[in-house]
Amino acid sequence: MDNFEEIDYKEVSHYLKMPKLSDEDIVLFDSVKKLLLDIAEPKIIARMENCEIVDGFYYLPELGLHLKSNDVNKYFVNVEKIGVVAATIGVAVDRKIAFYSKIDMVKAMVLDAMSNVLVENLVDNWEYKMHNEYPDYEFCMRYSCGYGDLSIEMQPQIIKALNATKLIGISVCKSNMMIPQKSISAFLGLTKTKNKDEKIDICQLCALQGKCTTKCRRALQNGKIK
């Protein structure tokens, strides 16, 4: 599967909270998609590492990353390997969103939402490859710092462990946000014992539980929301 460039308009409209698209909207989406694919510079770096439990939490000795999170423990059940990934679609996308924010806010909004889908596609593709490379494993959901109780202060450690600044150009600012903004870092847990049918209610982890108006993409994919 290499669906990087296949941008699902349903997902884009979901980010924009637009339940239906008019013909005019589709024309706009098509033109923004063309622009985005023209300027995006997809780059990804990932490592798949064995993990161990240290002080009750998963630890990746090769990368020196310690996932001190009860939520991670809850959803990474008997995990033996953890994939660590960082991906970006580049700084030109950030610049173009800022550019259109000055003269065409609707276009800027669509570009912003579509960029979210594009960078997620990039990581989806990597995850799909991992499924093929590790057929004997079950995969826990992707998990990022800043989610649940996994502190966002871990962001610089992840970027440093993957050498992502030098290799793919992701930097972390003082508030631990990544630049370029359309970047993702995540952990992927691999286990041999997880029950395939187990459904994870990821909304339970979220700080916005019960008040969510944005509805995240993963919840959409998991059928938690429509």
């Binding site: 924009l16 909270k17 637009m18 339940p19 005019e24 909207d25 510079e41 490592r47 590492e49 090769e62 020196g64 580049g90 700084v91 030109a92 950030d94 610049r95 969103i97 800022a98 550019f99 259109y100 924010s101 000055k102 003269i103 806010m105 609707v106 800027a108 909004m109 669509v110 912003d112 800043g146 966002i152 440093k160 030098k166 290799l167 793919i168 150009g169 930097s171 600012c173 003082k174 508030s175 631990n176 946000m177 630049i179 903004q181 700080a207 916005l208 008040k211 108006t213 944005t214």
Partner: protein
């Protein structure tokens, strides 16, 4: 400080061989390269000295000190100065042992992103590099700044070297296969800017292996007037069992590098993955070759931090960021409204301007500061190169210093004292310069005298080592209304300076029609004539259709627009038609349905019949109310809300223009920003757009805004409302601190908060007056308060 000629001696005699990677050698020896390896210079200096020695014995002419990350920012918790001195001593001892070689002090990125993407300021970064240079300059033979991604940061480093030492300076950046760095800098932007700043050697390192860089090396050699350095990795990285290795062996590496030397590269070395075996084979391969002669090229280039524009065909210089004859721009300068400058920049860029003029010439302001502020603001949002337009040398210098790229300076003239003040600045910062054909006697009436002045300017530039390719002559457009015979003199003069002096040409087009009716007819035709006489740079308003049509047609006829592709795309495209064409609508309906052309026609018609306030009260306000209602009901969505409110704003603008100022409705003033630490601003921008469209006066002070800046803005602008945005839970704490500071200062303002992580309860907890989940709700609240 004595100018070192050692590098030049080497460059004149042989292909200069640099060392290979330090990290790779250390890794092979079992050292952890994820930590600050620079500290080894103090803790285990013999190891570092031995690595330098091994590279020298393998054939390296120059070794880089082990100081890539040795800067006051990265080593803030260590003995930074001690590390730097120890590192130099390691290299010096190795050179002494080997009995040959030069020591090059190695500098890399400071380690945190610079403005506008990051938080470090230009001045701070400059100071970091300056501190290093001052320690190292009397102990080494030269400097190198390498593996750079951000051209702005590289400029800081080069200025720090040039202003604090006399040593030669080499620079190299890391490019991807398309020839761009992670921050988007192109090879041409790097070459034009660095060459302008006077670096001695430039090129690329790291990033790619030798086999991927062929096309990049060609581009470097094509545009560079100084020796080119190529120092790639040992191929592309391969990760196996957690270990990184590279896929090109020493033999292949040396063989491929030899090709580049034959193409004209004079300085070679290795980066990640290379060791002494690579350098040994490389040195052997190139030892019999003599260095290529550096041929000065004739490319006239200006650039931004990412994009380079070659003046090899007619280009548009956007004239809108200039207060001359523009009341709103003048007021924006007085108000320091950088958001307005940015909007003008984006609009002109979108309409085809390839260079933007920046002129802050309003009396009784701090022009140098305004030039700095406006340049920083504009270069953060568009990738067009800029023209720094001022008669004040201090303002020009400020612009040149804080500009990212190679700018155009407008202008000098035939007065020697003016040239002697401005040309040294042009030379130091490596800009292109515009020379006006006037002097203390004014603008000559005849062509010959204009040529005399142009020649004087060109000769003076030569004295300052400014090459002809960097000179633009403006023969000056005089208005037909007063000097009808001069129009042809201007055009003939333009043609002659170009042919006889070999310079580029520029004209401000709009002057031609000053005081005459239907100015655009004259302007567009004069533009076409000037272009046919050889005009290179046309200063125009690119937003005007007549100007675009004249320019696009000229480019089509001259075959610049290959196969008429751009022309056909632009003019054969079916213009966006209103979906409701043919359907009769009221103004109110046309706003709700976002049919802008109908709304415009109906408004223009209505203002001839009824009072402006009546239009607003009976048509615009009910339309906005209906949009808000539908949005709340979920039958209309945010993009439609924005589009409809934009049409409402357009209607209001037309109405306002027809009303006396005193009878216009004034709505509340609002200061808006994303709080400190939060770099997200899409949500804030959406709210701002809707508020503006609803007629509020919005002062946008940006994203990641420090508390003090919010307080200052409230003091200066005296708003009724302050809107704060935060997207991340981690930045809500800063939102709380900002609110506390506002209250502590006793400002009587309504504090509104919003953002993905905010809720009604969180808003209360942090002391906000109101939480708004979307812009529509905020507008409803403000209207309920009579604001």
């Amino acid at each position: 400080m004595v100018k070192s000629n050692k590098l030049y001696d080497l460059l004149s005699k042989k292909i200069v061989v640099l060392d290979g990677a330090m990290g790779t050698m250390l890794q092979t020896m079992g050292y952890n390269v994820n930590k600050h390896t620079e500290l080894l210079c103090q803790t285990n200096p013999k190891v570092i000295e031995d690595i330098h020695y091994r590279y020298l014995m393998a054939g390296a002419d120059i070794v880089y000190t082990n100081t890539f990350g040795a800067n006051p920012y990265k080593l803030a918790n260590y003995d930074f100065k001690g590390v730097v001195i120890s590192a130099i001593e390691c290299a010096r001892r190795a050179v002494k042992r080997a009995g040959k070689g030069l020591v090059c002090f190695d500098m890399g990125t400071i380690g945190e992103l610079m403005e506008p993407m990051g938080e470090l300021t230009f001045d701070k970064v400059y100071e970091f590099y300056k501190e290093i240079v001052i320690i190292a300059c009397d102990k080494v033979d030269m400097f190198v700044v390498e593996t750079m991604s951000d051209l702005y940061e590289l400029k800081c480093a080069v200025l720090a070297i040039k202003e604090n030492s006399d040593l030669p300076c080499m620079v190299s950046m890391s490019f991807d296969a398309k020839g761009r760095t992670f921050s988007g800098c192109s090879i041409e932007a790097m070459v034009s800017t660095m060459q302008g700043l006077g670096v001695d050697v430039l090129g690329l390192n790291c990033g790619l292996g030798p086999k991927q860089i062929g096309p990049l090396v060609e581009r470097l050699l094509k545009y560079s007037d100084v020796p080119v350095i190529v120092k790639p990795n040992a191929g592309l990285p391969v990760i196996s069992n957690g270990q990184v290795s590279y896929d090109v062996d020493a033999e292949d590496f040396a063989e491929t590098m030899l090709e580049y030397v034959k193409m004209g590269v004079n300085v070679v070395g290795g980066c990640c993955g290379t060791d002494e075996s690579y350098i040994k084979l490389l040195a052997n391969e190139v030892k019999a070759l003599t260095p290529s002669k550096i041929n000065l090229n004739n490319y006239s280039l200006v650039s931004s931090g990412t994009r380079c524009v070659e003046i090899n065909q007619a280009r548009i210089v956007g004239e809108r960021i200039n207060p001359t004859g523009k009341k709103i721009m003048k007021q924006a300068i007085l108000d320091k409204d950088i958001s307005y400058f940015q909007k003008q920049a984006v609009e002109q860029s979108e309409q085809g301007a390839e260079i933007l003029d920046i002129n802050m010439g309003v009396p009784n302001i701090d022009e140098p500061e305004m030039v700095k502020m406006s340049i920083k603001a504009v270069q953060s949002i568009v990738d067009c190169p800029l023209q720094i337009d001022s008669s004040d040398p201090k303002a020009i210098e400020m612009g040149l210093r804080y500009y990212n790229g190679k700018p155009l300076v407008n202008s000098v003239n035939g007065n020697v004292d003016v040239m002697e003040k401005i040309l040294p600045l042009v030379r130091k910062y490596g800009a292109m310069v515009v020379g006006l054909t006037l002097d203390k006697n004014g603008i000559p009436k005849n062509i010959e005298d204009r040529l005399v002045i142009a020649r004087r300017i060109v000769n003076k530039c030569k004295e300052y080592n400014i090459p002809t390719k960097d000179i633009v002559i403006d023969c000056l457009t005089l208005t037909l209304g007063a000097e009808q015979r001069q129009a042809m003199n201007t055009l003939i003069g333009l043609k002659r300076v170009k042919e006889e002096l070999g310079v580029k040409t520029m004209l401000g087009i709009s002057n031609i029609s000053y005081g005459l009716p239907s100015r655009q007819i004259i302007n567009s035709n004069f533009l076409t004539m000037a272009l046919t006489y050889g005009l290179d740079l046309a200063i125009v308003n690119p937003n005007l259709p007549e100007i675009q049509e004249a320019f696009d047609t000229f480019r089509l006829i001259k075959d610049y627009d290959k196969d008429g592709q751009k022309y056909c795309n632009k003019y054969s495209a079916i213009k966006q038609t209103d979906t409701q064409t043919g359907e009769k609508m009221t103004l109110q309906e046309s706003i709700i349905k976002s049919v802008s052309s109908t709304a415009r026609e109906l408004t223009v018609d209505l203002i001839t019949k009824v009072d402006g306030l009546q239009i607003i009260n009976n048509e615009v306000i009910p339309a906005l109310n209906e949009i808000g209602k539908r949005y709340e009901e979920g039958t209309l969505f945010l993009p439609q809300l924005i589009r409809a409110s934009e049409v409402a704003k357009m209607v209001c603008d037309i109405v306002k223009a027809s009303m006396p100022t005193e009878s216009q409705i004034k709505k509340a003033k609002i200061v808006i920003c994303s709080v400190e630490g939060d770099i997200h601003d899409i949500g804030k921008n959406i709210v701002k757009t809707v508020l503006l469209n609803y007629g509020y006066e919005v002062i946008d002070i940006g994203r990641d805004v420090a508390i003090e800046k919010v307080i200052d803005s409230i003091k200066i602008n005296k708003p009724e409302v302050v809107c704060l945005s935060a997207l991340m839970t981690t930045t809500v704490a800063n939102m709380k601190k900002t609110i506390e500071a506002i209250k502590l200062n006793g400002f009587k303002v309504i504090i509104c908060v919003g953002g993905a992580v905010l809720t009604e309860n969180v808003a209360k907890e942090i002391g906000a007056d109101i939480y708004s989940k979307d812009p529509s709700q905020l507008v409803k609240y403000l209207e309920s308060k009579g604001l």
